[in-house]
Amino acid sequence: MKEFNIVLAGVGGQGTLLAAEALGTAAVKDDLNVRVGEIHGMAQRGGAVISTVRIGQDVLASTVLEGRADILLGFEPIETLRSLKCASEGTFVIMSTERVPPVELATRKATYPSIEEIVEKIRRFTNNIILVDTERLAREAGSSLTRNVVLLGVAAGSGRLPVTKDSLLEAVRELVPSKHLEVNLRAFELGFDSLSRKRGK
């Protein structure tokens, strides 16, 4: 079965749901078959959340089998690690470096692991790792609330998504409330261009 799987891992409130819905909406616009899996309710109260997007003609289930993610979109480093079960050597990990420290760390008086430690763990699964300073790019776009759209832009800019940039942008236009649209479109473009800017340096 031909399938393209995207796993979005983050913390409730980080906007993973919107990013997943945008990817699914773009797939429908591109006339592709798609399933988007979400977790609602209790799990959203600051807990770990995972959304999945599966694109492909014969795809039926919304969940992704172990090792089968093509892209792991990590909105938070610890949650990216928690989702590594879906990764293998072919997986591209695109991860925000924005940390949301779990309360357990504070109660254990433990420090959040360094990005180097986190990257080392990801490398046990795959060497394809892209780190994104979503906070900086989102502020540059005009609102730190656009971090999720920055990450979506980076995914699109990686050239690996089976959906077109136009469809994704159209999806963002439909899903983001109009008064926040401009800043979100800027965030998307900043994310989209960030990889080529990096390469250019």
Partner: protein, 625 residues
């Protein structure tokens, strides 16, 4: 989906990405359903919420009912006047409605009547994993089971047709994976809602006194036989592949896993997909069974179809062996299924090897995951429940007992708040508290939310007054049905149509029930709350304390809209790193950096609770006391 008005587009053949629950909402519009009722509950909430957004424009009536039984009663009342109606709820909601539904099956309906039950395998946001298809068997009502959003829409329309044909309500059973999966949905044509009903008096049909009930039972059984005929010809019950090696019978989300597992194992399997699972299409099943020596039934939760398929096999195709979850447990009966679990079961059953080894990934993953800090759902920063729990625990202590209830405040059971000793179902805190207090003699504080109080706790409170139970009922009133998505309820003064209504105040209800000691407090005024609690536990009968403060998420959203910025608390030089604030409150806005507590300004709402607990007065900002 921010703008749900796309559901209203009268453009047949349009292809849209919809959540399973939104697809049911679209189905409501295509079926001409005119009355929609619900009590919110994950994973069913978005059905009612979507309709609530568009009801006025769609010209249909929608309400958040006080509980699921009332929701079905309102829907059935309308349906008995010939108006098409639908009531949506989570699986356990049907327990609340069951008393009514069992006999509604006898009276039947005139207009189409659909009861949506969203089951929750894996308990993603529920207290149990009951399989509500048994309600179909118990009540003799037809049951449809969609496997994806497209079917969720199509079956909503079909359920209305079946309901009107049989004059019976129809159950539409989803699971979390159907309700909360988005997929492409192709629109059909819409039917204009019709809210003008006519009640036709018919004593023998509608009054279920024994003399009239007996003949209606016969009528019901005749209708089940008729329903079986519908099931035999239903397009939702179909052979989707004709492989010769083994047969598979499947339904709902389990069907998706079965198809993908067959592909992974490269099995030559025949698959009978069932969408109408009560009554089962016996003849279709017999014809399918005859092609195989072994047939596997793949279904979520209980062996509901398996048991019946086994009975059919015994009577008609005795040489076929039927497996699933019963005699040989190839698939687990608990938790939700997955492609992996189904493939593992089918591999074991057929002796087929699975080419991919998942154990290598698992071993590598276990090593990475072993020191990861957990991130369970927690009370939000600024949540008034944290303040309530802090003071309740401080005043009533370790010796008191705390029956609790269904809602965000169930998160209070975790340390360090530790408030919550028994939690079973909606409204149960008030009832269980009375038994506990009666036989232990300990201070017993029942914890319950505002929406849950209206839903199921009022009879419990009347009982406490009547039988003079010495309990404290702490009603944590955050003016919202918060956990399920901030739906309005009788205490909010808002309706599902967005209009204003009479605010039913919990304290007035408590007084009306005869409670003598009723107080309303602001949970952030911890000293006042402590004084009231001390008084309440001394009462000789029941007492009620209403902890009133809006849900922090709602409050933040409203303040943001009004352009009011939250002023976060600050930690000054007086801080000794004693960590009392973290140990007592575990607020997500207080983090530790280099061994020192720090306020995360992006998260802090400035509620001030940490200011009142700091022993060194080292936290600055505004505080209610």
């Amino acid at each position: 989906m921010p703008d749900l008005r796309v559901l209203l587009q009268d453009s047949p053949k349009k292809r849209m990405l919809l959540l399973g629950n939104e697809a049911i909402a679209r189905g409501i519009l295509e079926a001409g359903i005119s009355v929609v009722t619900t009590y919110p509950g994950t994973p069913a909430s978005e059905i009612g919420d979507s309709i609530s957004e568009i009801a006025t424009e769609a010209k249909l009536y929608m309400e958040y009912s006080v509980n699921e039984m009332v929701a079905v009663q309102v829907a059935a009342g309308a349906a008995n006047c010939g108006v098409r109606a639908l009531a949506a709820m989570k699986h356990v909601g049907l327990n609340v409605a069951a008393d009514f539904v069992m006999t509604l099956a006898y009276t039947g309906v005139r207009g189409g009547c659909v009861i949506v039950t969203a089951d929750d395998p894996e308990c993603y946001s529920s207290q149990n994993e009951q399989d509500n298809r048994y309600y179909a068997l118990l009540s003799n009502l037809p049951c449809l089971e969609p496997s994806d959003p497209q079917e969720a829409k199509d079956m909503t329309v079909s359920a209305v047709e079946i309901s009107e044909k049989l004059e019976l309500p129809v159950l539409l059973r989803t699971t979390t994976r159907v309700s909360h999966t988005r997929g492409p949905v192709t629109y059909g044509t819409m039917i204009k809602p019709n809210l003008h009903g006519k009640f036709v008096r018919d004593l023998k049909r509608l009054n279920m006194v024994p003399a009239f009930s007996r003949p209606k039972h016969t009528v019901l059984l005749r209708r089940v036989a008729e329903a079986k005929g519908i099931s035999e010809t239903s397009p939702f019950n179909k052979v989707v592949s004709n492989g010769g090696e083994v047969g598979i019978i499947s339904s709902s989300s389990a069907y998706n896993y079965a198809v993908e597992a067959v592909d992974l194992l490269d099995l030559d399997a025949g698959i009978l997909k069932l969408g109408m699972t009560h009554p089962l299409p016996e003849k279709k099943i017999i014809a399918f069974l005859k092609n195989y020596r072994k047939v596997f039934v793949v279904e979520e939760l209980e062996p509901f179809m398996e048991m019946q398929v086994k009975a059919i096999a015994k009577d008609f195709v005795s040489y076929v062996e039927v497996y699933g979850k019963m005699a040989k447990e190839f698939f687990p009966r608990e938790g939700e299924l997955s492609t992996r679990l189904v493939a593992t079961g089918l591999a074991k059953a057929t002796g087929r090897k699975w080419s991919v080894s998942l154990s290598a990934i698992e071993a590598k993953y276990a090593d990475v995951a072993k020191d990861l800090p957990s991130r369970p759902p927690i009370l939000c920063a600024g949540c008034p429940h944290r303040a309530s729990f802090y003071t309740i625990r401080k005043v009533c202590g370790d010796n008191a007992l705390y029956p609790t209830d269904i809602g965000c405040y169930a998160l209070g059971i975790s340390p360090p708040l530790n408030v919550g000793d028994i939690m079973i179902c909606m409204g149960a805190s008030v009832g269980t508290a009375q038994g506990i207090s009666r036989v232990t003699g300990k201070d017993t504080v029942a914890i319950i939310g505002d929406s849950t109080f209206f839903h199921a706790a009022i009879p419990g409170l009347v009982n406490a007054v009547y039988n003079n139970s010495k309990i404290v009922v702490a009603i944590l009133d955050n003016q919202s049905t918060a956990m399920t998505g901030h739906q309005p309820h009788p205490g909010t003064g808002l309706t599902g149509l967005g209009g204003a209504s009479e605010k039913v105040l919990v304290e007035k209800v408590a007084e009306g029930c005869g409670v003598k000691y009723v107080r309303v407090v602001n949970p952030f005024e911890t000293k006042t709350v402590a004084a009231v609690l001390r008084e309440a536990v001394k009462q000789s009968g029941p007492s009620v304390i209403v902890f009133r403060s809006p849900c922090a998420l709602m409050d933040l959203r409203e303040k943001r809209r009004a352009g009011v910025e939250a002023v976060p608390a600050r930690i000054s030089d007086k801080c000794t790193d004693c960590m009392t604030c973290i140990k007592l409150l575990a607020c997500p806005a207080i983090i530790v950096e280099e061994g020192k507590p720090k306020i995360d300004e992006n998260v802090c709402t400035g509620c001030g609770l940490c200011i009142s607990v700091c022993p060194y007065k080292a936290i600055e900002g505004s505080c209610a006391e």
